[in-house]
């Protein structure tokens, strides 16, 4: 039977290639993701290992808590500088140096702020001891005066700075001008994953970062010959409470795992798309095998006649699937490696320069890739293999063997069951919320709808085909008839496209709702006319001198500074937003359900109604909170406001915030103006020295928020387009097989006078109907999923539900066009078929 399976495959090379493509793409995603993240992990661990090669110990504040932000590490308190002298006196300590880091952003020669692709702009103290320092000078010398700076080689190269140049730098205080005394690399890399670095003398850095007399950490190198364990014990003995000593290796591991965590987020996103590709691919495989088993009915029946058992027939189909799965997975693994290389190049194109390192191909990558690739193919082939088993031997002897497949009634039951379970899981997952349940629900709904689709395939194809038949005459009518011929096959083929379009539509509906909610929440949350934010996508902060400068502009009547930081609320890490209490009523609209905004001025905390409900807190309650700087305390809940996507769940006054956070940078400044002409211009002029700022009217701010949403949507669309591509391969596949199946019929049509062009038109019409059918069901399912998702996030600030009709119609039209494209090869093939094929007896 093995031989039969292999021969069968050899006879249908084309079918194989088309089927395999879906698996190849899916496994490419898996392998690419793993290779990329493993490679980056390894590279960073080598990089950090290099940097801390000579750091035996690090003295630092004990971690208050781990940051929730992707890529965020532990949040620690600074240590007093006086500790440095004590550490140096510990016997066995060779060298000890203190470091401090903070915000510093370069201004390029053209007066614009140097922006990174989301990476931080880091300022730090330059460690004159090159064994302990993370920075390696490649040109020039270390900074010595308060006006010296060492620049990272990445920024220097990109913005054409050299030693001796003067450069302006944005800081926590007003911007200042420095002289570049040296260019340095970060370990062996030009910079740290796209972050810019500005290194000052320790005292300068402390002053610039508002940390006089304080250090972030002390790096220690043990004297030659000293016993490390003893030194560590001695160090630990002199440290005050809240300060710890750890080995250099621990620091390396922590830094590496912080990067891994950030990459993990990224890799999960990529793996989700791998899963989607494979899921859609499974439908294509299922469809192909169903059709080919149908085609080989007579051959399989003959095998039964000459003595093959049912089991052998079953395995001959599965073996074919296994071989296809294996070969495609292997190709996918190899392509994944190439994709990883390409992605690194792509990231560096976005300015995220990654350190170079050898590609890492872990055994895990191969195992997961092969298991998933082969597994998916096998699972998809089980159904068709079971159909093959049902073929009676007598089918070999009759002219038109008909194998009775399970009735549509079973589909009602199975499809209905899957849909019901799916909707249940979805509802449960959305209310909890549990993302796995949501995914499971969506998968079940897709399977359920795919099962039910044949029931509606014929009427829908009939309606869709009517205008085509009218427009294209007989070929159009024949195409319509062909698409209605086997509702099962039509539905199966369209299912893959259905999933792709459902996902895209769901994203579109969700995105439109998000966008509209953001707009309305801005209108409902901010009464300020001008909004000042950092130009690096609202992520970074800016100098704390900005609010003062803005407030002094004639025509500005109120100024509110917005901060945000992480803290622990009832033992879970959350983000607290803070705003100036003085003018809050003039710039911000808070819809209070309980308590008053005035409570902010008394150092009380406001929470939104969702949080109040889930955390069981009420106005007047004292709740436990913890801050990195000041440790644990309690705070009174002063009021409850309606959920607001812009403000978040926790709001405090600026006084309270500043006393609990170390050197926070303002994230936004809200300005209320008296409406006099030219206020906006005057504000822009006043803030000219801060090129990292974006000064927007409320409308511009709304537009920018919407643009961010559409940018994200664009990225997701691009990845989902892959699923649509796989679905199209499925359509090509089905059409190709239909053309083979109908060789005689097409020959007959040609014999009685159908022109080649008409043959092509016929196949194209069928394809367009198939694609539109899949698209319509997909858009309906997707709209449902999107609305459900958006509705469930009402508490999170998605207050409006929008169905972007024009986008959905565009998708439908695009699907039709793609269907037309998918038909081009089968149509050409059909038109080239030999007329004689119809009449030559087999």
């Amino acid at each position: 039977m093995w031989k039969v399976a292999v021969r069968g495959m050899r006879a249908h090379k084309l079918r194989l290639v088309l089927t395999a493509l879906a698996i190849v793409l899916g496994v490419t995603f898996i392998s690419g993701t793993y290779v990329l993240t493993d490679t980056l992990n390894n590279t960073f661990s080598v990089l950090f290992g290099n940097i801390y090669k000579h750091v035996d110990f690090q003295v630092r504040g004990v971690a208050a808590f781990e940051s929730n932000a992707p890529g965020g590490g532990a949040v620690r308190r600074a240590i007093p500088e006086s500790l440095l002298a004590k550490v140096r006196r510990v016997p066995g300590v060779g060298v000890a140096q203190g470091t401090v880091a903070g915000y510093a952003q370069y201004i390029a020669r053209d007066g614009k702020a140097v922006v990174t692709g989301g990476a931080p702009t880091i300022g730090l103290s330059f460690d004159p001891n090159d064994e302990l320092s993370a920075l390696r000078l490649t040109q020039g010398t270390a900074p010595t005066s308060p006006h010296d700076v060492v620049m990272d080689a990445g920024t220097a190269g990109k913005y054409h700075f050299t030693v001796g140049d003067r450069v302006r730098i944005l800081l926590l205080g007003p911007p200042e001008t420095f002289t570049i005394t040296g260019i340095a690399t970060f370990g062996t890399a030009n910079n740290l994953a796209g972050a810019t670095l500005a290194a000052f003398t320790l005292t300068t850095a402390q002053a610039l970062f508002h940390e006089p007399g304080r250090l972030d950490s002390i790096n220690v190198r043990v004297a030659p010959g000293a016993d490390k364990t003893q030194v560590q014990r001695a160090l630990a003995a002199i440290l005050p409470h809240g300060v710890e000593v750890v080995t250099g290796q621990t620091v390396v591991n922590e830094q590496t795992s912080t990067i891994s965590k950030a990459l993990g987020f990224f890799s999960i996103a990529l793996l989700v798309f791998a899963f989607i590709s494979l899921f859609v691919g499974a439908f294509t495989i299922f469809n192909t095998f169903t059709i080919t088993v149908g085609q080989r009915t007579r051959e399989l029946a003959l095998l039964r006649i000459v003595g093959a058992s049912r089991r052998q027939v079953f395995w001959s189909v599965l073996v074919e699937a296994a071989v296809i799965g294996l070969v495609s997975s292997l190709i996918g693994l190899a392509l994944g490696v190439l994709a990883a290389v390409g992605l690194v190049k792509l990231l560096s194109g976005f300015g995220i320069t990654l350190p170079t390192g050898p590609l890492v191909f872990e055994a895990r990558t191969a195992i997961v890739g092969l298991l998933v690739g082969v597994g998916v193919t096998l699972v998809a082939a089980v159904g068709p293999a079971r159909n093959a088993v049902r073929i009676p031997p007598v089918a070999a002897l009759v002219d038109h063997p008909v194998v009775h497949a399970a009735t549509l009634r079973r589909r009602y039951v199975v499809g209905g069951l899957f849909s019901a379970v799916g909707i249940g899981a979805l509802a449960d997952g959305l209310t909890k919320p549990a993302i796995q349940l949501v995914g499971l629900g969506a998968v079940c709904i897709f399977i359920g709808v795919a099962q039910l689709a044949p029931v509606v395939a014929r009427p829908i194809a009939s309606v869709l085909g009517r205008p085509l038949a009218k427009l294209l005459g007989t070929p159009g009518r024949l195409g319509r008839e062909n698409s209605m011929r086997s509702p099962r096959r039509t539905a199966q083929t369209a299912s893959a496209l259905m999933i792709g379009l459902a996902l895209i539509s769901a994203v579109a509906v969700f995105g439109a709702s998000l966008s509209r909610s953001a707009t309305s929440s801005i209108d409902n949350a901010i009464s300020a006319n001008l909004i000042v934010t950092s130009s690096s996508n609202g992520m970074g902060g800016f100098s704390d001198t900005v609010p003062g400068v803005a407030a002094a502009v004639a025509g500005v009547t109120a100024t509110s500074t917005v901060y945000a930081g992480e803290f622990e609320f009832q033992h879970s890490i959350s983000t607290m937003t803070a705003i100036s209490t003085k003018s809050v009523g003039l710039t911000l609209i808070l819809r209070m359900t309980e308590g008053t905004v005035g409570a902010l001025a008394h150092g009380e905390l406001l929470v939104d109604s969702t949080t109040a409900m889930t955390s069981h807190v009420a106005v007047g309650d004292f709740v436990s909170v913890r801050f990195a700087k000041t440790g644990a305390s309690t705070v009174r809940i002063g009021g409850i406001y309606e959920p607001n996507a812009l403000i978040g769940s926790y709001l405090s006054g600026d006084g309270f915030f500043l006393s609990h956070f170390e050197n926070p940078v303002p994230l936004a400044v809200l300005l209320q103006t008296n409406g006099s002409t030219g206020v906006e211009r005057r504000v822009i002029a006043a803030l000219h020295a801060y090129p990292n700022l974006k000064i927007q009217t409320r409308t511009q701010f709304e537009k920018a928020q919407q643009a961010q949403v559409s940018q994200l949507l664009g990225l997701i669309y691009a990845l989902l387009a892959l699923a649509v591509l796989i679905a199209l391969i499925g359509i090509v596949n089905t059409l190709m097989l239909s053309v083979f199946e109908r060789t005689r019929e097409i020959g007959l049509l040609r014999a009685v006078g159908m022109k080649r062009r008409q043959v092509r038109t016929m196949i194209r019409a069928e394809s367009v109907i198939l694609a539109l059918f899949g698209a319509i069901i997909g858009i309906l399912v997707g709209t449902f999923l999107g609305v459900a998702l958006a509705a469930s996030l009402r508490q999170q600030g998605i207050t409006e539900i929008a169905v972007p009709v024009s986008s959905l119609v565009t998708f439908l039209v695009l699907a039709g066009l793609l269907g037309l494209g998918a038909a081009s090869w089968p149509a050409r093939h059909a038109a080239k078929l030999d007329v004689l094929a119809a009449i030559s007896t087999e």
Binding site: G473, T474, P475, L478, E481, N482, M484, R485, R744, E745, L748, L749, R750, A751, V752, G753, M754, K755, R756, Q758, V835, L836, A838, I839, T841
Partner: protein, 250 residues
């Protein structure tokens, strides 16, 4: 009926000159036709007979523009069809030739009526409804016209195919073993109708068959053997056909 009488070719519905058809090359070459000269008269019912492998189907395919000869020329009503490209051949088949095959004559997704009007529909021509009604009536398929092929018996399917072959009033009908899959009653009806179309509407019909009883319905039998014309019989009967076949040693 060789070309010793050249004037006959002028009036012929179709004729072939020095037709060769070779499949494969070198040692594996098979000569399906090796120098056939033949003419089929207008307004007559001609049967082409011969044992399996004699080249009778190949001859029909070449003359109907379904297949291209290796060398030689074929004419339909005096027009050299070897000069036509695919589009020209398609149009020729659609407008000037009718076909009835042994099996698989009908498009399964179309009703009987749609199958009959298919050549006209493909050409975008108006269907002569009177003619359609007449044909359906003559063939006894009037009440089956709205059915799909799967709902028709084999005999009914062949009669629908017959109506389709005649709907455009072609110059020539090629029938390739049209009764091959039918029982003797249906066969006789079918052949009777073909003969009637020759008598009543001066239709020209060429039928490939290996059945002497079927050949007896024709006006003239052309015998093929080893890719050559080996004989001809006018006004055949079942017995005279059998007699001739015995002489040829088949």
């Amino acid at each position: 009926m060789t070309l010793t009488e050249p004037d006959r070719t002028v009036t012929a519905a179709a004729h072939a000159v020095d037709l060769f058809k070779t499949y494969g090359t070198g040692d594996a070459a098979v000569h399906a036709l090796s120098g056939v000269n033949v003419a089929f008269d207008r307004g007559r019912f001609t049967a082409v007979m011969g044992p399996s492998g004699s080249g009778k189907s190949t001859l029909m395919h070449c003359m109907a523009g379904l297949d291209r000869p290796t060398s030689g020329r074929t004419f339909i009503g005096g027009q050299d069809i070897s000069l036509l490209n695919d589009a020209g051949l398609t149009q020729l088949r659609r407008d000037r030739i009718g076909f009835v095959f042994q099996a698989f004559n009908l498009v399964p997704t179309l009703t009987a009526r749609e199958n009959v009007t298919l050549p006209a529909d493909l050409a975008g021509k108006k269907v002569d409804l009177e003619w359609l009604a007449y044909l359906a009536d003559a063939l006894g398929i009037t009440d089956r016209l709205s059915h799909r092929p799967s709902e028709l018996s084999g005999g009914q399917q062949q009669r629908v195919a017959c109506a389709r072959a005649l709907i455009n009033r072609p110059e020539l009908i090629f029938a390739d073993e049209p009764t091959g899959n039918l029982d003797s009653n249906s066969s006789a009806e079918m052949l009777g109708f073909l003969r009637r179309s020759v008598r009543e509407f001066e239709q020209s019909v060429v039928m490939v068959t290996h059945d002497p009883r079927g050949a007896a319905f024709s006006d003239c039998v052309v015998f093929l053997g080893d890719g050559k014309v080996v004989g001809e019989l006018q006004a055949p009967t079942e017995d005279s056909v059998l007699e001739r076949m015995r002489q040829m040693g088949t």
